[in-house]
Amino acid sequence: MYVAVKGGETAINNAHRLLADRRRGNRAVPSLTLDQITEQLALGVDRVMSEGSLYDRRLAALAIKQARGDLIEAIFLVRAYRTTLPRFGHSEPLDTEAMLVQRRISACYKDLPGGQLLGPTFDYTHRLLDDELDGDPQVEQGGQRVESHESIARVPDILDREGLVEEDYGSDEVAEPGDINQTPMSFPLDRSMRLQALARGDEGFLLALGYSTQRGYARSHPFAGEIRIGEVDVEVFMPELGFAVPIGRVQVTECQMVNQFKGSAKAPPQFTRGYGLVFGQSERKAMAMSLCDRALRAEELGEDIVAPAQDQEFVVSHCDNVQATGFVEHLKLPHYVDFQAELVLVRRMRAEHEDRADVASAEVREAAE
């Protein structure tokens, strides 16, 4: 129960002022520029874009600066800003096969068309802190190698040729995909709406759930069929022109997880797939998303639902960190009246409990005497 109370305006104003002061920190240290954030904290920016569900590097950088580096607070700011803008429409589905690839690896095939392209990865670093970065060392440009413009086929398409992987969902546009921003969620959600929720879901939450599937909670024998990062063209159909207009490029990370599947009454033994697609360079998130997507297909594939990662209501209802933080943090709001009521209740129960104890001990005494 909430009761309106007034007061605290001065305290709040001063708290805002103090927050701004602390955000700026020591004035002898130069203020961060948004360019510095987008260029040098790029992966933090990417996380804010994907979980804020808004592709705009500069806005994400601004949010990070304003939130003092608290990424969930920054995501919250971006989500709030998003609601102030009108929606002009939707893009044509992004064509990840036509991606300008910056990284592409497969754990299933060693040699594959286009090759294993490591790109700017942390994978082979030794995770030793580099003292030199304490300063501003000269950094050389990335090396170059003449490139053959070989096409980089998607790995599931390669598996597909053997017929050992499930067919993809038909590409014929049966209906407009559902949008969790517009429709109140009612379970079960179809796969396209689940993917939308996962795409903006909390990286840590999805990572933990993906991990749980590997540890035996909904085991699905995953292989990283392919991970690719790069830029894709965005096109938007403009009715006044009658064709789809190119409006620029976005960077995305795509993960195709390939999972062993014993088969069911309906389907023969084959590989099944889990899919992850995320804004920016967010490999861990894309992998976790594809593990969760596969686990959430349990019902469709006739598997028993035995683990949290397979329960779509559990996963989808709790993966949004803006919702989660709102509900957890609302506990900070005054609950004075609630608490008073609880106090009265606990005191009464305590009194009753003590009365019962007195009666019981009196009975014991009487019996002993």
Binding site: R87, Q182, P184, L241
Partner: protein, 202 residues
């Protein structure tokens, strides 16, 4: 590709302010059923569509709210005008429409053929924007209900002949049902589903 320039003209000259002020007027009108108000927006919809209906369409319709046009309005030019100025797209079927623009209400499909919402989500129903000959001079209808102090009477010309039966049926579906925005030229009045028709005369 040369596009017929007319369909690109005639939207709000200042979309943000004009859609906000139209929305405010519309909201007040919805809160005071059967009360006639005037829309003075700088808008020039294609010939068949009136100022009030055009302003309401440009204020309410967007990319997420499919609309439907009746036979009088149904034209490529109007679809293109709405697409350009509102981003809206036509509904696949009448029942999918969030908004319906009706140019000849006396011959329109019955109200129950539009989305009625569900008991859980009564808001998932259609708002019908009716363009009439005029909002006075017709048969008077008197309403009562939320937002009406005692009684309110309106006498629009051009409503469906069986309006009384249809409106009672709509009222019986409450909280489901459609809401009406009646327009004529610059004028507008609303009949939300909560308005109860008490008599056709008086």
């Amino acid at each position: 590709m040369i596009v017929d320039a007319d369909v690109l003209e005639g939207g709000f000259t200042n979309p943000v302010l004009e859609s906000q002020s139209t929305f405010r007027i519309l909201m007040d009108a919805m809160a005071r059923p059967a009360c006639v108000v005037r829309i003075e927006a700088a808008i020039a919809p294609p010939a068949t569509l009136g100022i009030a209906a055009g302003a309401v369409a440009c204020t309410l319709i967007d990319a997420d709210t499919p609309y439907w046009l009746d036979v009088v309005f149904e034209s490529d030019a109007l679809h293109r005008w709405l697409a350009f100025h509102t981003g809206g797209r036509r509904a696949a079927t009448m029942a999918d429409a969030v908004f319906a623009l009706v140019g000849m209400p006396c011959a329109m499909p019955s109200f129950d053929r539009f989305a009625q919402g569900s008991h859980e989500y009564p808001d998932r129903s259609a708002t019908l924007i009716l363009q009439l000959e005029s909002l006075d001079g017709g048969e008077p209808f008197t309403f009562e209900g939320p937002g009406i102090k005692e009684r309110a009477t309106i006498a629009p010309r051009g409503l469906p002949a069986n309006f009384v039966e249809q409106w009672s049926a709509n009222r019986k579906r409450f909280p489901r049902g459609v809401d009406l925005v009646l327009t004529a030229g610059h004028e507008l009045a609303c009949l939300p589903r909560s308005a109860r028709l008490i008599s056709a005369k008086d």
